[in-house]
Symmetry: C2
């Protein structure tokens, strides 16, 4: 009576149920108390609401919610069922329960499941009546026996590890019904699932559609299909499972064209019972130009893995970010959570988001909006930074969950890459190409969606993650680190910055605000000791004071920290673009955050407020801009400042020739460094222009700006800020003061 098939998203309306929830120590004990439950939601939120817990995202209040995940929880609903007409049938439909659970009707177990990503439904017809209790009993959150508190406790389960504690996420492990859930009345003959697959001709001249639709009836139920073009005009009308669309309008990612979406309507007995968007595109991972010439000489190893994205036959440079869980509790995520964030991503000229593997696979609304906005999605399975070497039961659930995930997400034009998980081939994970979990995921992706590229993890050979600091423990600045690096894709790099003052004030007790100290919300909200590799993260006050001297106020600290973050990200994104075609991808860590941080590598604060770094990244990701390559951030009075000026170009059209003016602005003193012309640039071809120089005037510690202007094309202009310090570098660290 249960199914794990895709549930038709546009089936008849879902009638909500009224739920109460309560904990118990044992599965065999009924809860002593039930409290009202919000569904979708989380048991912790329901329990906290009923008991007036303080908001989990303020101060260190999340600690009040810890430990609740170690109990059994019963969701109970006294059924109040509608009356069926004729041969109608009634179903209990659930999009997902986090994490292991069993379902009973009037005391009889009707379904058991481990895994939050596989929806299920139960036919209630003749099996339940009003007044019966529908119970979903949740088991305690899985914690691998013998592992220390932390993400390793998630390594034998299919629960996203991020909630076990991460450097941007508190330890708070949700449990609960996290997807839409309710009662559905259906005609006897109804649609059970629809699956749309297509094969694009190599030259895109046509698409061969294959619709696999399943009804509750015997095969042969009269289904009809209508495919409408992006304007809503009927493009195809067919009764068979196969049809050919001539000259499909292609779905293009942002910046490359329009993300055209067709609509498929499924009709049963002449009535539209389902409709979904279909975007026609082909995504491949290809070798970059000249990659095959490496390695040269003997002994000769393999050439690097392909990581250059080719969409609809066109190589694109991937600019984007790592998407993390936008909420600690996935049950809270709605379309309204996703939309403003994704619109910010689109406005930043991004074309790719990597949905990082530590978290959930995003809800349908995420992919629907990405389809619409032209945002490609690198979808990672829910594995991150752990040794997932479980046998038997672990692999069985991974198989079930991954198949559910693939069947759902493969329907979306925005899907660009499948990835097994985050940093699994590194020391802190310890997995290898031989790991069963990754071979299973490769197999399932091949079987169910082989046309979408699959990579086992990131980074692969040639690719790289990190650094995540403006200045490392050896004093190397990111200008040096990334200027000298030579990687095929930067699928993660970070530069931290504090949150805005009013954001800090919103969650931090006033007495903790300044100066930042351990043991306060600066620590619990990731400003200090967030990253075990560097206890000064993510605030990095030492770096701020290295450049600007001691900090006097919170406002000063935030402003200076945000300046470093903005300038750092600007450099890395632009430098990665300059390294094209060796480099094909720049994705910063990270885009958003699940709660308000004190300091973090993100560029958009929770829930959807841009930090200054967002605008810097937005500028650096413009399809066409003038860009400066500099060696360092800190300069001395009297030193010869030097910058190599480039035109970065990801435009699909020719960029017409123009003239660049380069100017330094040192404390209001303008210095013309150079003016040079650049020629017409073919689409997607960068131009290395002039190297300009100028002697920096004397002065104290102060910032100065480099302005790049293109005559009559202000949209290409760029500005960079650096710091200048007195000559002789005689200023001891942490003592010089910034000229205000």
């Amino acid at each position: 009576m249960t199914t794990s098939k895709t549930i038709s998203p546009s089936a008849t309306r879902l009638l909500p149920l009224t739920w109460r929830v309560g904990p118990s120590e044992r599965a065999t004990l009924a809860p002593e108390r039930l409290v009202p439950a919000q569904v979708p939601g989380a048991v912790q939120l329901d329990w906290g609401r009923a008991h007036c817990f303080p908001e989990y995202w303020r101060s260190d209040h999340f600690k009040a919610y810890q430990g609740l995940e170690d109990l059994f929880w019963s969701y109970c609903s006294v059924l109040d069922l509608p009356t069926l007409v004729g041969d109608e049938r009634m179903f209990f439909v659930c999009g997902g329960v986090d994490y292991r659970f069993r379902v009973s009707i009037a005391g009889t177990v009707v379904h058991e499941q481990e895994g939050m990503f596989t929806p299920f439904e139960i036919d209630l017809t003749g099996r339940a009546e009003s007044g019966d209790v529908l119970e979903i009993l949740l088991y305690p959150a899985p914690k691998a026996f013998g592992e220390a508190v932390g993400r390793a406790q998630a390594r034998l389960s299919n629960k996203p590890p991020v909630s076990y504690g991460w450097d941007f996420h508190p330890r708070l492990i949700p449990l609960g019904i996290w997807q839409e859930t309710g009662i559905q009345v259906r005609a006897r003959v109804h649609l059970r699932s629809v699956d749309v697959r297509y094969q694009l001709a190599e030259d895109f001249a046509h698409a061969e559609l294959t619709i696999s639709a399943e009804t509750s009836d015997a095969p042969g139920t009269a289904l009809e299909y209508r495919l409408r073009d992006p304007e809503g005009q009927l493009a195809l009308h067919f009764q068979t499972e196969n049809a050919v669309l001539e000259r499909p309008r292609l779905w293009w990612p942002a910046g490359e064209g329009h993300p055209d979406l067709y609509t498929l309507e499924v009709l049963l007995d002449g009535v539209i019972v389902h409709s979904q968007r279909v975007g026609f595109r082909r995504v491949r991972l290809v070798m970059r130009a000249a990659a095959w010439q490496e390695p040269a000489g003997f002994p000769k190893s393999r050439s690097e893995p392909a990581i250059t994205l080719e969409v609809n036959g066109r190589v694109i440079f991937a600019r984007g970010s790592n998407w993390v869980c936008p909420e600690i509790f996935p049950g809270l995520i709605t379309t309204e959570t996703y939309r403003p964030l994704l619109e910010l991503a689109r406005a930043a000229h991004f074309n790719l988001l990597r949905t990082w593997g530590g978290a959930i696979i995003n809800k349908e609304a995420f992919y629907e909006i990405c389809d619409e906005l032209g945002l490609l999605v690198w979808t990672e399975f829910h594995l991150a930074c752990n040794l997932y070497d479980g046998e038997g039961e672990y692999l069985r659930v991974l198989d079930q969950e991954s198949r559910s995930i693939i069947r759902r997400v493969r329907q979306h034009a925005s899907l660009a890459i499948w990835c097994g998980g985050n940093e699994l081939f590194n020391a802190w994970s310890g997995m290898t190409d031989q790991s069963f979990a990754l071979r299973l995921l490769n197999k399932n992706c091949y079987e169910l969606d082989r046309d979408t590229p699959f990579i086992a993890t990131a980074p692969l050979g040639g690719m790289a993650h990190g650094d995540y600091r403006f200045r490392d423990e050896r004093g190397r600045e990111l200008f040096e680190i990334f200027g000298q690096a030579r990687n095929t894709a930067y699928s993660e790099f970070g530069c931290p910055g504090p949150s805005a003052v009013d954001c800090l004030e919103s969650f931090m007790p006033e007495g903790e605000l300044f100066p930042p100290r351990p043991g306060t919300a600066w620590e619990t909200h990731h400003g200090l000791r967030a990253w075990e590799m560097d206890p000064r993260t993510w605030l990095c006050q030492d770096t701020i004071e290295h450049y600007f001297g001691p900090t006097q106020t919170l406002e000063q600290l935030v402003e200076r920290g945000q300046l470093l973050q903005a300038e750092g990200y600007k450099f890395i994104f632009e430098e990665a673009r300059r390294q094209k075609p060796v480099c094909a991808m720049a994705l910063n860590w990270c885009f958003n955050e699940p709660w308000p941080s004190a300091a973090n590598n993100n560029i958009v604060s929770w829930p959807h407020r841009p930090k200054p770094a967002y605008y810097a990244v937005q500028a650096a990701c413009r399809p066409v801009l003038v860009s400066a390559r500099v060696e360092k951030f800190a300069w001395c009075s009297g030193e010869v400042f030097e910058a190599e000026i480039w035109i970065l170009n990801e435009s699909v059209d020719t960029v017409h020739s123009g003239s660049v003016e380069v100017e330094l602005d040192v404390a209001g003193q303008l210095m013309q460094l150079a003016r040079f012309d650049f020629p017409d640039l073919a689409p997607k071809v960068n131009h290395r222009g002039a190297t300009v120089r100028g002697v920096l005037p004397d002065g104290g510690v102060r910032t100065f700006d480099l302005n790049l202007r293109v005559a009559q094309r202000a949209e290409l202009d760029s500005r960079y800020t650096y710091v200048s310090r007195p000559r002789a570098a005689a200023v001891p660290e942490h003592t010089a003061q910034l000229d205000s």
Copy 2:
């Protein structure tokens, strides 16, 4: 009426058929002439025999056989069937036909197939009678349309590419029935297939056996199983499909222990109808010690792929060779082909053979002997140096063939690694991790034999192939190249040498023997222009003369060339062992050859005659030896000769302390360089001993020897030969003469 299941190898006797074979231009035309056919065999051999073609392996006579693969070939047998008793049944059984074919009985097509690795059988009962003609019609060998003559013609088929021409293999493309074929009479209820799988406990305390046996009867036919231990004593007797063997005696590879083999007997109605060997072992690819600490710093890429072999929980250093087709025509290969070669491999202290992907998957006899001798087998699928990007039909046949291969080979204890094919991630192939063919092979190996490691190709990152010359085009000697390399596995490296004089005389017209010239058998048999990257290969006369001056006779040329090969291989094998644990594997290219070469990288000449290099490799692969690390081969009079002396140790026991004496022998003049002691050495731990030096005496161009002796343990002694030339290096290349 056909099956692609594993055919029980010990089923009732195969009655041979009498075959005739003949060509035609079209599938619809009967051959004009049929000639007697040997089965197994090849149509080219039958046709050549009937037409008195000269032997294909002499001179350039193989050219007479070329082109026959472009015809259709009909194998015809007028059936002379035995009389069935009672309800007996009669089958036509065929182990394999190369390559695409259809089978007819009395003009009716009963089977069609593409792919040589999938056996088939046809139930003839009531379907054929004596006098009927059984026909197997072969299609022309596949040649990808539009590709130039060469291996690329094989890239859209599942035919081994080596026969399309390689640097050690002439272009000669076999077609024919290449496996055992005949009539089998069986009881009505008979065994159809047996599959033995087991799961070893992590601590090897027990093995859980699972026997999947299929009979022609409905499920439930009374089968019994008996497992006999290596001495033939009954260890288990069971009727169910599952059984547990306590404390299994493990199968160990050569040098590590005994390759213990159990015997499984299958009884039907109390009669043994099948028996097969079962070896219990666990093979894993693991990370070498300290591998996880790399790469250091940021940006950080992945750690290298695991390539260190762990057998039964013990890390071993893999010493061995690349096994190539021992015959051009696989139909000629029998147990008698394999056994002497494999015994040579075992005697060379090898523990691993890589069956290189350009050729066939070896016959059962190969694996049976490897099981018995304790030789691990890295089994490559039949893909090599091509862009296998075929869709649809190509993948369908690859799926069929790979599943047949896996089901057969996974039964063998000697199977150590599955590999997708040779050098597929390099420029000359152009495949990537995204290639469907490799994802399919990974999937099939995971589904059917997931406990055996799978690698997509060799080399992977960290591993390396080549160089294949004693001295490269820049003048770098292999002593320098491999002394400076740092790879995790050398899965191919070569050093060429000419064949013995009498071997050359056996196939080369007398007038072509000396001096070697293009346009002779020196060229067709790979002595010159074999390798497009270096036209002087594989004879490399220029290198020989660089060291020894002009060559006067064939004997001189062969002796000098073979000396370089022997010394070269000795150095690389020993150097790879010194690089342990970073390096975990040394497999030279190649062990054997499919026909007599003029010069080649092999160490055993066709059919099974060791070259001097074989004995050098045998010495270098001894479990324990004294070994010299030197910088170069060519020294000058008066120069300070230097060698770093190691004790190399792969023993499973402690190596007891001892004393090493180091001596130079320059034209009979003995120079004691040093004597030093080494301590007790733990199992598998090398020891870096003394660096010794001595001034070389004056003299002309001459070889000299370095002798390493261990007091009272001559089995550890080593000898190396180098060349000394007059001081000042004033001798122009190709002019100095070797002192005789």
